[in-house]
Symmetry: C2
């Protein structure tokens, strides 16, 4: 039997202990919260990727579908708006829309009222993909919080919102690139 199959990812406890060893004035409580947040998010994204992969789309495409659905009927947004919402450059958005239009998830057409603008619209197929992804996600998310009572979920959500508010107040943001959509 293999003693250690190779140094895999250290546990959160090990990781925090290592940071404390290397950096004295670290608040272990703060670090535990932050590290758990980050690792949890990573695990969740891996799970979402599995979901979307079974539908033949990528997480990146799912994000675009989500943004369009959230915008509400008639599910239309310009590439620039989409880019802002997803935290991408306009150039990246252009390419992503290329691919998605190619796959029939959205249509792209010029806005005849103002021909500088472009309108990206969700197709029926795109909406159905979103719905299937959403179904899988909601089952997964419900399972995720299974060990928290309803009261705990409420307290958890409330604290998350408080921290989120704090970061949005203190970080002007300036249209941040990076990372995944909610």
């Amino acid at each position: 039997m293999p003693e250690t199959p190779g140094p895999a990812e250290p546990s959160l406890e090990e990781q925090i202990a290592a940071y404390q060893r290397e950096f004295q004035d670290l608040d272990p409580q703060v670090e535990q919260v932050v590290s758990a947040l980050s690792r949890l998010n990573r695990r969740m994204n891996v799970a979402y990727s599995r979901h979307t992969a079974t539908l033949g789309i990528s997480n990146a495409e799912w994000e675009v579908l989500k943004a369009l659905v959230v915008s509400g009927a008639p599910y239309r947004l310009g590439p620039g708006d989409l880019a802002k919402r997803l935290g991408l450059t306009p150039a990246a958005m252009t390419h992503r829309i290329d691919r998605m239009a190619n796959d029939g998830l959205v249509t792209r057409e010029r806005d005849e009222a103002n021909r500088v603008r472009v309108i990206v619209e969700l197709t029926v197929e795109g909406r159905e993909k979103w719905l299937e992804a959403m179904r899988m996600a909601s089952v997964f998310e419900e399972d995720l919080l299974q060990d928290l009572s309803s009261e705990e979920r409420a307290a958890f959500g409330e604290m998350l919102m408080r921290v989120l508010r704090r970061v949005e107040e203190t970080q002007p943001d300036a249209g941040g690139r990076l990372s995944d959509l909610d």
Copy 2:
């Protein structure tokens, strides 16, 4: 004055309301938790990027520094181990190490005891970069949780750990790619 400066990112409340409108059997409480988690993580990564940028490194490079520091003295790991820990392919790791060795953050040498292996070792400069990044991060993180009392932080961390444990139990993971390190 501009009525709306352009549809920016919708607030979490708006977003959740939109999901409920489009997808009836969605638990708003669950969705609030999940969306807040995801958005918070995004904001945090934007902030970390600002920190690392001022040090002249990227978040990607910082992740490698963190993994090496967490491994403890003498701060050595193989490219394969690093790739596992960061959730990257070995190929990506090869390139990342190229760049970092070029920048003097790590050294790369063949393991003379087993010449198939390669040893990546943190340099003094790399360790200092890590330390500076860590200082900035710890200030930011302390500020992030400012609105939570010590009791709340403990409860928050405990719930995060419970959810994390849940996802790690139910998702076999199989060495997930994707996303950022803790």
